[in-house]
Amino acid sequence: MAATTRHRRATWVAYLPYLLPGLIAFGVVIGYPLATNVYYSLFRWKGGLAKMNWYGLGNYTDLLADDAFWVSFRNSLAMVVAMVVVPTLIGLVLAAVLFDYLGRRFGTRVAAVLRATYYLPQILPVAVAGVVWNWILNAQTGAINVILSSLGVVNPPDWLGNPALAMPSVMLVLIWVQIGYPVVIFMAALQRVDPELYEAAELDGADWINRFRAITLPQIKPETFVVTLTCTVAALKVFAPVYVLTRGGPEGSTLVPSYYSFLNFFDKSKVGYGAAVSTVLTVVIIVVAVVILSFQARSERRDREGR
């Protein structure tokens, strides 16, 4: 019926006013600033009322020759290990153990309490976590080194002050912060799995490892992609823990792109350069997200065809 089609087209147009506030808000707060930031990256500019000097792509070619820039992105890889790889792997095992083993042998209460404990670091402000860990890891007055000294260790390590140890220490903190997230998501995912599947497999003599491989892993694949995507983006964006724990030091050993751009903006007054760093970071994040999403799409397609 032609009347219905016309009616339908008219309908979506009538909803446009409801889109307007959102479009304006996103244009003003995200779109315009993002474009302006790219524009800034083409200038040498000290910020504020200082004169803007056209520099073309100069800031970007400077980046390529800037060691600190490359170090910051190499450190991003360490952040991905600490915030994606390790938490996802440990989270998978913990969720499966809590759900399929402890939950069924000791009751869901035990599993729920353990899950809440693992999730606890996720709810506290990252800055608070950083401040507490900063004290725990402090070379002179920190909890770890005071304990080590009382055990007779003469020269306890300077966890955050030694360039070789700072990154592993920051990674440890991030793993601690991050682990609860995959555990909670994966346990929720496992609730969708038919319990009879596990019981049947158990009756067939499949041990825990086999059940984990044959049932748990394939069932929670969608959530694994969600966790990988959200955590990778978060790892590339990480700022507050680095700011609170090490300020990128010592000797740039924990410098990350977001902190490097912040440093250029507000500390070195190299606004154009900071804008270039953040623009590159934005592009990297979008590319990585698209790659992960297309992996997900391909895996979903393969699963459908396999069945």
Binding site: Y18, V28, N37, V131, A240, G274
Partner: protein, 291 residues
């Protein structure tokens, strides 16, 4: 686990059951030890928040405090003007929670129920907005806030976070609303209700639980935010709790009890909020993960 396989012969059934009994306790203890390791920073914080510096240097971080030492807490409370920071954080987070979920609902109404053209691309744009590093928008935002007289104003932070948080809300609510029962909408429009009436008296009431989850999320996320408040809120009078805590760092007067008591009172509001809404939250985390 490997040991279990070797005792699966029928004669050893009793033995197998026995070993299985031991095995599950081993796993429980391992999971418990891991939980303790996760808790240990919180325990250290509690043990040392009310311990005098002398007690700390004498007995170390693992002992129970010999007296209830409150100077650390008082020191932190006064130096940061904590009630003021608490008020700032509460105002900013609550207003963002309310405005953010409203903006999410109205926008998602056009996308999920209005099915406007190009909605898939729109949702993708909102998602990208959510993934952007805040460094890529902060300097222009800072300049814009100065230009309109919102420099160092909580309203600048409120406006920015309302938009950033609602990116997620629009994504979630659009997919929820696209499955909204059409019979309800048709019945309402037969009764003569316009689009605005339908939004207010049909869609909104049935979305209340999801909106509740969103508000809890937005509140906690905004409470925990660090980078944008750090840049935009430049004076003592406007700062939020996490900024106040971190600004005391490197200060010579920040001894162990002051640091720990400060961290403790700074995480308390988020913890209380979490405990009250724990059920809502777990449901929400799941909702976000599945789609």
């Amino acid at each position: 686990m490997a040991a279990l396989k070797t005792v699966r012969a029928p004669k050893d059934v009793v033995g197998a059951r026995h070993r299985r009994g031991v095995g599950r306790w081993v796993v429980l203890v391992l999971a418990g030890v891991f939980a303790l390791a996760m808790l240990s920073p919180f325990v250290l914080m509690l043990l040392n928040a009310f311990k005098s510096p002398q007690d700390y240097s004498q007995n170390g971080p693992l002992s129970l405090p010999t007296e209830f030492y409150t100077k650390g807490l008082i020191n932190f409370w006064n130096r940061t003007e904590f009630p003021l920071k608490l008020w700032n954080s509460i105002v900013i987070s609550s207003v963002v929670a309310v405005l953010g979920s409203l903006l999410s609902l109205v926008t998602a109404y056009a996308i999920g129920i209005g099915r406007v053209k190009g909605r898939t691309a729109l949702v993708a744009v909102f998602l990208v907005a959510n993934m952007l590093p805040q460094e890529a928008i902060i300097y222009p935002l800072f300049t814009m806030a100065n230009a309109v007289g919102l420099s160092n104003s909580p309203w600048s932070v409120i406006i920015i976070f309302t938009v950033i948080q609602s990116a997620f809300g629009i994504y979630l609510l659009s997919s929820v609303l696209s499955t909204f029962p059409t019979e309800l909408l048709e019945a309402a429009s037969l009764d003569g209700a316009g689009r605005f009436r339908i939004l207010v008296s049909v869609v909104f009431p049935s979305m209340r639980p999801t909106l509740g989850v969103l508000m809890v999320f937005f509140f906690i996320w905004t409470w925990n935010e660090f980078f944008i408040p750090l840049v935009m809120l430049t004076t003592n009078a406007t700062q939020t709790v996490p900024i106040a805590l971190s600004s005391l760092q490197g200060d010579r007067l920040m001894d162990a009890p002051t640091t720990n008591a400060g961290a403790l009172v700074s995480l308390l509001p988020a913890l209380i909020f979490f405990l009250i809404f724990q059920r809502t939250l777990t449901r929400g985390v799941t909702a976000g993960a599945v789609k």
